[in-house]
Each structure stands twice: as structure tokens, then as C-alpha cells.
């Protein structure tokens, strides 16, 4: 299926989910993305690891690869990119911001080549914003088929604006643990 066509369907289904999740506590099991998924962090914050714990709680077959490259997309059907830069994380990994950006750009290019859809997460809230994270949001979010974000990280509407402009379904949740429901529902 062409990516554009997939995106339209995903938009519709996620919109349905968003309505359902706001109107009911019951998690709607609309399936949008397929498993297995590859999780990686854009910016090497611990949010990547937190996302893998959330994926486990959502009973997804998803693997975290900290420094995922194109070859890690082999046999994956979804790429989950966890947005959020940490200078501490980058420093501990011994990589600079340019190398990290280069890695993500190559990964996204490979995902596009393989028609693997992208789900962006931002779960670090207000504290996980900043110049580098904002650059990454601007660079990578437009390629996503959907995004799930913790509300406090979207106080200035950065996610809302990009998602609206690019017609990307966006789900906002209050707390990190609330990501589990939408995440589970987004997958087959």
C-alpha cells in the first residue's frame, strides 16, 4: 500500500480512536500500525527506554535499539521514534548531535524506502523540550503517520501545529502511563 493512502486511513482511524478515548474509558482497539515494531530514541534520552516499558505494558512486540540503523528495520513493520534529546544521554553514548541527527535521517530514509510507517512519541513533557528536541520535532514529526504526546510537552502547540499542517493524527495524554492505551489501540 502506498504511504499516502496508508496515512489517510491511519488519520481516519486514529481520529476515531481519539474521539473514543476521550468519550469512553474503554480502550478502543482500532488497529493502525503493525507488529513487530522497532523503537529508537531521537536524542538518546531515557524516554526511549520508557517507551519500551510502555510498549511491553501494551503487550506489543517491539524492541528498543538505542542506536538503530537501517539494517535494524529488517522484518519490522513499524518504526516508533521517541523524540527527546538529552545532552547527558548523548554524552554517555559518546556521540554528538550531528551524528545523532545523521543516524535518524538515514533511518527515516530507509523506513520510507521500505514503506515502514512512523509513529512519533514525545513522552518527556515540558522538561524534555529545548533547542535540540525542537529541531528534531521539526525535522522528523512531518514524516510521521501518527503521534502520541504527553500534554505538558505541547503547551506551546508545537505538535498541534505541525500535525495540523501535515494532517497527522495527534493524540495527547495527560501522563506518561496514559500512553499505554493509545499505543495498544494503534497496533494490530
Amino acid at each position: 500500500m502506498k504511504l499516502a493512502w496508508k496515512k489517510t486511513i491511519l488519520s481516519f482511524l486514529l481520529a476515531c480512536f481519539a474521539v473514543a478515548s476521550h468519550s469512553s474509558t474503554k480502550q478502543d482497539a482500532k488497529t493502525l500500525f503493525e507488529q513487530p515494531a522497532l523503537i529508537t530514541s531521537a536524542g538518546q534520552s531515557a524516554d526511549g527506554l520508557q517507551a519500551s516499558v510502555l510498549a511491553k505494558r501494551a503487550e506489543l512486540r517491539a524492541e528498543l535499539v538505542k542506536f538503530a540503523s537501517g539494517k535494524d528495520l529488517e522484518n519490522r513493520k513499524t518504526l516508533i521514534l521517541v523524540l527527546g534529546a538529552s545532552m547527558k544521554g548523548l554524552g554517555a553514548a559518546g556521540i554528538d548531535t550531528n551524528k545523532e541527527k545523521e543516524r535518524i535521517a538515514q533511518l527515516l530514509a530507509e523506513a520510507k524506502k521500505k514503506n515502514i510507517p512512523l509513529l512519533c512519541l514525545h513522552i518527556g513533557g515540558e522538561a524534555r523540550r529545548g533547542q535540540l528536541t525542537d529541531e528534531m520535532i521539526g525535522d522528523y514529526l512531518p514524516s510521521a503517520q501518527a503521534a502520541i504526546v504527553v500534554k505538558s510537552g505541547n503547551k506551546d502547540g508545537i505538535f498541534t501545529k505541525i500535525c495540523k499542517d501535515k494532517h497527522i493524527p495527534l493524540i495527547e495524554v495527560d501522563k506518561v502511563l496514559d500512553v499505554v492505551g493509545p499505543l495498544k489501540a494503534a497496533f494490530k
Partner: protein, 571 residues
């Protein structure tokens, strides 16, 4: 600004503040947390890195406890309220001033290496050195905290350990609202906590990092503290808790034994004393290196025209950064546990050594190499943390710095105890030939540097900070800000900071807070410095706490660093 003018401004500011109604700022920080703000007290004050801890200390003072009682009460409360920075699984140092006999002393309760430690214990592992030094059982030094607190209380306090622990137990049981600082640090250390403490630990919220506004409680710590206060600290050093500590350490491939815990003793030491201009500073001798390096840096800058250069100008940052690099060369070559290695302390803090370093610093370029100083051995005799400042109504003072090293220490929590074990073995050198290499029962060199500064024989400034190797440069900058640039106490603490060091004689970048103008940074680059820009108010540079005692006016000012959650509480 000329020095005399700066003093005039300072005195005028203090006079004006003293003319206002003295509404005591107990625990209400300003809305803009970075806006300089001096807490005001008259009888006593506590400044600490968490409001509940400062309140615990203040309550102790109001109930008649002295400065040592209040410092230990604050320390217990910090274990509950700021568990990522210190606790009974760590160690520290205390500088105590006793007003009546006008005596300054220090208590060293730094962790010790287990008896099975060897100089090659980390290099032998042959892989990911950092992990063995920071996250595995081998990273855990024998904790000294409870032994140190207990020693200080028995010798200089008036209250029991149980009385001092009461507020800490209440905080651990009742919980508190997680601050953005707690949450950010919790997220940064998430991986370590998940790996070592597990998904069900109280240090994670349902397996996920805490968010601002969540409630943090630690009933297991409360239970542990109750047990210790009932049975005494022998429970920690030889009872059921000791067994749990050893089991937890050894489960992560550590080397600590019950014998190591049973053998731990704190040590009272004579303080290091030196002058800066009209002031006399009392601080820690080795194995605390922070105090020694503060004195070295102040000795070097003493003869420089700081007021002419101006605060945080190119000349100022260049000269101080160069001085820091020479100091690090000395540190690397000489510093170790004074019980086992010879440290030329007197030579290092001498004005002569400072002059020789000054002569090596060019005003228009960085040095090619940073050699350590050389001293005549015949003249010498062998000799990330939180800070608390306390003064009581009788003028007794405690300057206490304590730590579990990295935030959340190793992330290892002995089963069911609720406290974190330190990773202070990381403060040993990985070079087996270093004077600071691990050896049985040695204390690793610490960067901590709690101090008390006197003017004309009277206490004037009580100061300390966390911040690892940045501690001494941050504290020296605060002192210079007050003495040479006439800043008020909290202005001096909040002012932008910088830091540099050297490794094996080679310079490392100058790290700066981003508030230092770009034009200054560009000019520093033309002198040969590499620049590393940090955040506006970066925890990397520590979280200083301070008291300023203005005896003639009977005013005590408290300054608490907005880089962390520090507050003052006075009465």
C-alpha cells in the same frame, strides 16, 4: 567596579534590606526561582536543597537543638526528600564551628573501599569501565553517613539520633510532591534505576519516571530509619540491614563484606586554614580535595586585578580557567587518602606555589601544557551530593556536604530498605599507579569542600555545594563574587559560572553557562580555549547553599541555589 565601591553597594543594599520590616522568609521561594533572593533570619537559619529538609532543621533549632542537631535532622530529612543526592547509603564531611570556645573542627565520614579492593579492580574487568565504577556492586564504597552523623551528635550535639531522624521518617512516610528537578533527574537516571532497582522500586512510579506533581513516598525508608533509631547504628553496621547491604552489593558482583561494614569508623580532623585577602577560610583537609583546591584557586587569583578585568569578562574567564587547569594537574599527581599517601598540603596551599602558577599563565594565550607543581618532600608530613548550612542562636555553625555520588547513586537498593547505595568507588582513579587508586580500606579523593569563612575572627560566610569536580571552582567564584565584585549573597550564587580542567597536562574545554555572552565566548576561542556551552542555570555547576552572618546588624542571610531546589528557613 572598584572594590571599595562594591563594598559600599553591598553595605547599602544590606542597610536598605535591614530598614524594611523583617518579614522572615521561611520556605517561600520567589516566583522566578532564578531571581536572586536572600532569606533573612535573626536567631538561626538552615539552608538546604529541599524545603522540607530546611523546615526539619529549623524545627530542631526552634525546639532548642543546636546547629549540629539541626544539621543532622536536615540530613535525615534530605535522605527522604532529596533521595537522589544523599542518604544513609553514602558519606560526607562536616565542618563545625563551636562559638563558645571559638573552635573549628571537621568530621570525615567519607566512604571507604572494601578490604578486598585492589588498584587493578576496575582495569581487570576489561570492559565498560564506567559501569563497574558507577552501576555495579564494585562501585559501592562502605557507607559512612550514619557513623558520621552519630559521631557528630554524640560529641557536639544535644539530641539523640531518634530525635534527629523524626522529621525524616515523617517525610518518608507522608511523601511529598515531586518537583521538576526531581523529575528531570529521575528521567536522566531511569535506565540505571530500572536495571538495578527494578520496575517496582519506589524510585520509579509504576515502573516509569516520576513526573512533576506526582507524589513520592518511601515507607520502606521510614521503616529502616525507625529500626535504626530503635536499635542504634549497629543495626546498619552489623545487623539485619548490614546483611541486606552486603547481599545487594554482592548480587551485583561487588566485594563488600560484613567485616567491612563492622570496621567503619568516622574520623575527626583538624581543618585546613588559609587566608584570602582579609578573610580566613576553614575547610576540609584531604581526602576532601574541594577545600584544598578552593584555597589554591583563591591564592592564585588574589594578586590579579579582578575588579579591573570585571566579572565574567574574557580576561577573567581566561585567567581563572588556566588556573583551574594547573590545579587539576596537582590534583591528578598528588591527591589520595592521606592515611596512606603523602600529600604536600602545605606546599599546595602556599602563596609561593600560587605565584609560580600565576607566572605560567599568559594573558594572551592558553598554555601548551599544564604540569603539576613540585615540592620538597622533606618539608612535608604525611598527612553530583548536597549541602546544608546551619547556624543556631548561640552562633554555632555547621557546613555539611554529603553525597551518594552520581544522582541516585548506583541505583542499588538493599532489599526492602528504601535507601540507595553510593557509587563513590568511582572517585578512585582507574590508573593503578595513581595515588588515588583503590586499595583496601582507603578513602577515595572527594571534590567536596564545605567551608566557613571568617572576617576579623568572626564567622562571615558558610558555604558549600554539590557538583563533583566543579565544586571548588563554583565555590571560589561565589567567594570572589562577594569579596571582589560586591554582589549580595544570592546574586553571587546565581551569577553565571564556568569551569575548566586538565587531564594528563592537556587542557579540556571551558564549560560555561549559556548566560555568558557569545562575544565573550568567541574572544575566549581566539585565545585558544575550546568552549562547551551548558544550560542557563546548569546543575553541572552544582547547587550551592550559603549563609552570610552580619553580626553587627544581628542579621543572617541565606542563599539557596536555583540550579537545584534549595531554600532557606530562618527565624
Amino acid at each position: 567596579m572598584k572594590r571599595s565601591a562594591a563594598w559600599a553597594v553591598l553595605i547599602a543594599a544590606l542597610f536598605l534590606s535591614s530598614c524594611r520590616p523583617q518579614k522572615l522568609q521561611v520556605s517561600e521561594p520567589p516566583q522566578d526561582r532564578h531571581a536572586p533572593f536572600n532569606y533573612v533570619g535573626q536567631k538561626g537559619m538552615v539552608v538546604a536543597a529541599h524545603p522540607l529538609a530546611a523546615r526539619a532543621g529549623l524545627d530542631m533549632l526552634k525546639q532548642g537543638g543546636n546547629a549540629v542537631d539541626a544539621a543532622v535532622a536536615t540530613a535525615f530529612a534530605l535522605n527522604a526528600a532529596e533521595p537522589f543526592a544523599s542518604g544513609i547509603g553514602g558519606g560526607g564531611f562536616m565542618v563545625i564551628y563551636l562559638a563558645k570556645p571559638k573552635k573549628v573542627t571537621t568530621v570525615n565520614f567519607r566512604e571507604k573501599a572494601p578490604a578486598a579492593a585492589t588498584p587493578t579492580m576496575f582495569t581487570n574487568k576489561g570492559e565498560t569501565l564506567e559501569q563497574w565504577r558507577t552501576e555495579r556492586g564494585t562501585a559501592v564504597g562502605v557507607p559512612g553517613m550514619l557513623a558520621g552523623w552519630s559521631y557528630a551528635l554524640k560529641k557536639y550535639g544535644t539530641r539523640s539520633l531518634a530525635e534527629a531522624a523524626r522529621k525524616g521518617i515523617e517525610i518518608a512516610d507522608g511523601g511529598f510532591t515531586v518537583s521538576p528537578t526531581f523529575s528531570t533527574i529521575n528521567k536522566d537516571e531511569y535506565e540505571k534505576l530500572l536495571k538495578n532497582a527494578g520496575e517496582t522500586t519506589c524510585y520509579l512510579n509504576g515502573g516509569i519516571a516520576y513526573e512533576p506533581g506526582d507524589t513520592f513516598k518511601n515507607p520502606e525508608l521510614a521503616k529502616t530509619l525507625r529500626l535504626i533509631t530503635t536499635k542504634g547504628i549497629r543495626e546498619f553496621y552489623g545487623g539485619e540491614i548490614a546483611q541486606k547491604i552486603v547481599a545487594a552489593v554482592r548480587a551485583k558482583e561487588g566485594i563488600m563484606t560484613l567485616k567491612d561494614l563492622a570496621a567503619y569508623e568516622p574520623e575527626e580532623m583538624v581543618p585546613l586554614e588559609a587566608t584570602y585577602k582579609d578573610f580566613t577560610i576553614y575547610t576540609l583537609p584531604p581526602p576532601g580535595s574541594g577545600g584544598l583546591h578552593i584555597l589554591q584557586l583563591l591564592n592564585i587569583v588574589e594578586a590579579w586585578p579582578l575588579e579591573t578585568w570585571g566579572h565574567n569578562t574574557v580576561a577573567y574567564i581566561h585567567h581563572l580557567s588556566e588556573a583551574m587547569r594547573f590545579i587539576f594537574a596537582d590534583r591528578e599527581h598528588y591527591l589520595g587518602d592521606p592515611d596512606f599517601v603523602t600529600i604536600p598540603v602545605a606546599g599546595l596551599v602556599s602563596k609561593d606555589h600560587a605565584r609560580r602558577i600565576r607566572e605560567k599563565i599568559a594573558s594572551d594565550k592558553t598554555a601548551a601544557v599544564y604540569p603539576y607543581g613540585e615540592f620538597d618532600p622533606g618539608q612535608e608530613k604525611k598527612e553530583n551530593t548536597t549541602h546544608v548550612c546551619v547556624i543556631d542562636k548561640d552562633g554555632n555553625i555547621v557546613s555539611l556536604t554529603q553525597s551518594i555520588n552520581d544522582f541516585f547513586g548506583t541505583g542499588i537498593v538493599p532489599d526492602g530498605t528504601g535507601f540507595l547505595l553510593n557509587d563513590h568507588m568511582a572517585d578512585f582513579s582507574t590508573n593503578p599507579k595513581s595515588p588515588n587508586a583503590p586499595h583496601p580500606s582507603r578513602r577515595p579523593v572527594s571534590s567536596m569542600g564545605p567551608l566557613i569563612m571568617f572576617k576579623k575572627g568572626e564567622p562571615f560566610l558558610v558555604l558549600g555545594s554539590p557538583g563533583g569536580t566543579r565544586i571548588f571552582s563554583s565555590l571560589a567564584q561565589i567567594i570572589i563574587n562577594i569579596v571582589d565584585f560586591g554582589m549580595t549573597l544570592d546574586e553571587a550564587i546565581e551569577a553565571p559560572r564556568f569551569f575548566s580542567y586538565s587531564v594528563a597536562g592537556k587542557p579540556r574545554p571551558v564549560s560555561v553557562e549559556s548566560r555568558i555572552p557569545e562575544a565573550t565566548l568567541k574572544a575566549l576561542e581566539t585565545l585558544g580555549h575550546q568552549i562547551a556551552v551548558k544550560e542557563d542555570y546548569d546543575k553541572y555547576f552544582g547547587g550551592a547553599q550559603a549563609l552570610m552572618i552580619l553580626k553587627p546588624k544581628k542579621i543572617i542571610l541565606g542563599g539557596a541555589d536555583s540550579r537545584r531546589d534549595g531554600v532557606g528557613a530562618g527565624y
